[in-house]
């Protein structure tokens, strides 16, 4: 029996569209919020959305419907056939990928989480809170997030298939006497995290430095923990997407030129083992792969879908989103690495350890100028030793410093890693994941309150 997405494509082709892609995503998300050292509230969301991409004479239309009946979907696609005439053509549109392949779904991680309920999340939250309190936290906040979804897709280019995915993301923010500390865990299996130990470690980190102090504005060597390093450097992969290259990116016109430190390599992967966003195909059915965006500091590739690849006479990198190329999972590596974070701290004469940033904003996406605000534990380092937690305000989470930076300067000044990349995220990056190690960036401009 034909699936809904197969029917959608069939209806579209009958309605005389040139290209059609239909994707249906059936998703369930649970959020257990922790605040003031208590489980605060539970949110459970279920939705099923079908998105149909339609093209006719280079005119493009996207129709998105929530849990439609088949008859509603058919009516909507037929209506789109009339509507599309009013849309101006996208003259550089070159169609969707053509081939013949069916991708079968792997249910393994999906099954892993299928029996988890609020009771499990609650037990985990309590474990995390107990661990944090035993570790010395005065107050604990966080989120336990469970996501599972099933997708099916079909294209008029001959591709079809489906996938299942599930993962958990746990965040904790501990408030200690001197500082606060936020950490994230990304799980492909529920048993991968000892919530008590996770909480305890976060609390211990918030009390890692016993003294607090102020610092002056100036240039510092900065060690970014994986979460801030990853959320900042991941911008490189967005900037390498062809749509952004065309509308203003600091990577425009720099293919095969040095854009980063000679030891820095940034990959973009759709199918990196262990990645939360692992998938075998992109939105138009091309097999996903791993693309070198930067290899040893040199910009090697932009990220393409079929249409942009044809325009620029290259191959799709398997980065098709329904609208334009989208990054997969950034994997950030450095050829030069200290053994671990402690060893990396040992390399710094005068610097700051940054454990979390937020509110990254660009003043110019063409030049890559931006600023970002450290929050939580930020440690002054002198002669390879942690000296004090930087605090310019009353609250333990109030660091009171700001980093002003340029994305390419940051990439060029990223001189040393502090161990292997780990999968990480941040609240600020809205659920985007990447793999990144701690990273030392030299000569960063810092201002203070």
């Amino acid at each position: 029996m034909a699936t809904l997405v197969e029917k959608a494509v069939r209806i579209a082709m009958k309605a005389d569209f040139d290209d059609a892609v239909a994707i249906v995503k059936d998703e369930k998300e649970d959020y257990l919020k922790v605040a003031n050292s208590k489980a605060d509230s539970l949110v459970e969301e279920h939705d099923r959305i079908i998105t149909v991409f339609l093209a006719k004479d280079k005119r493009l239309l996207f129709v998105s419907l929530e849990n439609p009946k088949e008859s509603v979907l058919e009516k909507r696609i037929k209506k789109a056939a009339a509507e599309i005439a009013a849309i101006r053509p996208k003259n550089d549109y070159n169609g969707i990928a053509q081939g013949r392949k069916h991708y079968s779904a792997d249910r393994s991680s999906y099954k892993e989480f299928s029996n988890i309920d609020a009771g499990f999340l609650s037990d985990m939250a309590n474990g995390m809170i107990n661990g944090a309190e035993d570790g010395g936290a005065a107050s604990v906040a966080g989120t336990l997030y469970l996501n599972s979804y099933a997708t099916e897709f079909c294209t008029s280019g001959g591709y079809s298939g489906g996938s299942f995915s599930a993962h958990m993301r746990v965040s904790i923010r501990c408030f200690g006497k001197i500082s606060s500390f936020q950490d994230f865990a990304v799980l492909k299996r529920a048993g991968d995290l000892d919530a008590y130990e996770f909480g305890k470690r976060a609390a211990e980190m918030s009390n890692m430095v016993k003294k607090k102090g102020k610092t002056d504005a100036g240039r510092y060597d900065i060690i970014y923990m994986p979460s801030p390093a990853g959320s900042l450097l991941s911008n490189i992969n967005s900037m390498a997407c062809m749509g952004n290259i065309e509308t203003g990116s600091p990577l425009s016109g720099k293919l095969n030129k040095a854009v980063g430190n000679g030891g820095l390599t940034i990959l973009d992967s759709g199918n990196f083992a262990g990645s939360v966003d692992y998938r075998t195909y992109d939105d138009e059915g091309m097999k996903t792969s791993t693309t070198e965006v930067i290899r040893d500091g040199i910009l090697r590739n932009y990220l393409h879908n079929f249409s942009t690849a044809k325009k620029y006479r290259t191959r799709s990198t398997g980065n098709a989103g329904l609208v334009e190329p989208e990054p997969g999972t950034p994997i950030i590596r450095h050829r030069n690495s200290a053994k671990n974070l402690d060893a990396l701290i040992g390399e710094v004469k005068k610097g700051i350890l940054i454990t979390n940033t937020w509110y990254t904003r660009f003043s110019n996406y063409l030049t890559g100028d931006f600023s970002t605000v450290p929050r939580d534990l930020s440690v002054m380092i002198r002669n390879g030793e942690p000296e004090f937690a930087i605090r310019h305000g009353g609250a333990s989470s109030m660091v009171g410093i700001r980093i002003s930076e340029n994305m390419l300067r940051m990439a060029k000044s990223a001189s040393l890693a502090g161990g292997k990349p780990v999968q990480t995220t941040s609240w600020d990056s809205e659920g985007d994941y990447c793999f990144c190690p701690p990273m030392l960036v030299e000569g960063v401009s810092v201002t203070t309150l």
């Binding site: 919020k33 539970l42 949110v43 459970e44 309920d117 003043s363 600023s371 989470s397 109030m398």
Partner: protein, 467 residues
């Protein structure tokens, strides 16, 4: 208006029939929108979206649950509600403030129904005019026209129907002159029919902003850091005042943030509950959040808990006056809710949000502010901004800023950045202008991140630092 509200009524009855449920409410929403994008002259596709779903909030044994589904099938909802798992151990007990029972229906007048509009027309006009300037090298324009129809009812008998059409525009232009570039984001929007979208005059706004970027690049000066640091008098335009009001006063006065519920997400506040009524700004500062401003992007008449909205003073003559609350945090504070509970759509939980937040205009003309400043900087627009998570230390980059010399606006300055502590900034306000502007934004908070439509603005302000 949504007509078939039967599923919401059945869902509410079902929730209230479950053991240990002390409160329930249902929110049904239909969202329809069309959108268009134009990038570098190419029409980058049009979109049409239709969503319909139901949210149920329940308090059971003191625990707060929010469940949303797009399945128009009471059996599916029944299964969700019955599976509602227990979260125990160290868990918060939620209670709600007592509120008046409301029964209302409201809609927004439309001369041209929003569905009759095509956003592409206005984008094409803007693209043609911006491209013809020659120096606007990169152009991305996006617009959306939509309608939210909702129906809310709760266990206490409150019932609200709402029908709110809205429109929005987002543009990014990068102008390039003599090897230098400057970028500007432009957000416009409102609530109402298609005539409101046309009245935005997007093309005029884009061309004007492009010209301003060019002027800064061609005529602007870059000042040495030591000279920038010595600038004590700053005249902030309604756009700058608006972002500062929103980030450092509005967010800081959200009761859920003050009381720790957002601690792992959008952060905390420099205020504590005990700071109610404390002086936090100069006497010239009165700040209002008013969801009832007609056609403003943050408009609503009843919040997402069915509480009637009104304009409330967050700060009055420099003193903290009222925290923003929903029913949960109003109960914590022993007060009535001031109708600040909003969700970005039916699928997410309603949380405390701003609406249209502004610095109350004063009695001075903008020229009088310049005259009083004598020497300093006038900052008109920003591109980059941020603030720490306690809302104490903000930065607003002067995308378009000018020197003030002899009490008048003179040449543009390219590298001015207003970076200041919140207390320092708001205590420095000595005069507020009689001019007024509201600027559109999408405010992010919560997890999952929810972006809700807001405006922010006010009158211009003279900040005299160190006075």
């Amino acid at each position: 208006m949504i007509e078939d509200t039967g599923i919401a009524e059945r869902a509410l009855r079902l929730a209230l029939s479950l053991p240990h449920v002390s409160y329930a409410e249902a929110y049904l929403e239909r969202l329809r929108s069309v959108s268009a994008a134009v990038e570098q002259g190419e029409a980058n596709g049009a979109g049409a979206s239709e969503r319909f779903g139901l949210r149920i909030r329940v308090i059971r044994r003191g625990r707060l649950y929010t469940i949303s589904t797009d399945k128009e099938d009471i059996r599916a909802l029944d299964s969700c509600l019955r599976r509602m798992g227990e979260f125990g151990g160290k868990a918060a007990v939620t209670s709600l403030s007592d509120e008046r029972k409301e029964n209302a229906s409201y809609s927004v007048k439309e001369a041209i129904p929003i569905e009759d509009g095509n956003p592409l027309n206005e984008l094409d006009k803007a693209e043609k005019r911006a491209a013809s300037l020659g120096f606007v090298k990169y152009r991305s324009f996006y617009a959306s026209l939509g309608r939210s129809e909702s129906y809310y009812l709760n266990a206490e008998g409150t019932e609200i129907y709402a029908d709110v059409p809205s429109f929005s525009f987002f543009g990014s232009i990068i102008a390039s002159v003599n090897g230098e570039s400057r970028q500007r984001f432009l957000q416009l929007g409102g609530v109402g029919g298609y005539e409101g979208f046309e009245k935005l005059l997007i093309d005029d706004a884009v061309v004007e902003e492009a010209g301003r970027l060019r002027n800064v690049m061609e005529k602007g000066v870059s000042l040495p850091q030591d000279k920038l640091k010595r600038i004590r008098n700053v005249v902030a335009s309604p756009e700058i005042v608006g972002i500062a009001v929103h980030e450092s006063i509005g967010h800081a006065n959200e009761a859920d943030r003050i009381m720790g519920r957002e601690a792992a997400q959008a952060g905390m506040s420099y205020l504590e509950v005990e700071d109610a009524g404390k002086r936090i700004a100069s006497e010239a500062v009165t700040i209002i959040d008013d969801p009832t401003i007609k056609n403003a992007y943050g408009y609503y008449l009843y919040d997402d808990e069915g509480v009637k909205a009104y304009g409330k003073k967050i700060v009055e003559r420099g003193f903290q006056k009222e925290f923003l609350t929903n029913r949960e945090y109003a109960a914590e504070l022993g007060k009535k809710s001031n109708a600040s509970s909003r969700s970005d759509d039916y699928s997410n939980e309603p949380i405390i949000r701003m609406s249209n937040t502004y610095l109350k205009p004063g009695r001075y003309g903008p020229d009088e502010l310049m005259e009083e400043a004598r020497t300093g900087v006038y900052i008109r627009s920003f591109m980059e901004w941020n603030i720490d998570d306690t809302r104490s230390f903000a930065r607003y980059q002067g995308n378009e800023a000018y020197l003030i010399e002899k009490g008048e606006v003179s040449k543009p300055v390219k590298n001015y950045v207003l970076e200041a502590g919140t207390a320092e900034l708001w205590n420095a306000v000595t005069m507020v202008g009689s001019d007024f502007g509201l600027y559109v934004g999408s405010c992010g908070k919560g997890e999952p991140m929810q972006g809700v439509p807001v405006t922010m603005g006010g009158g211009s302000a003279l900040l005299a630092f160190g006075r």
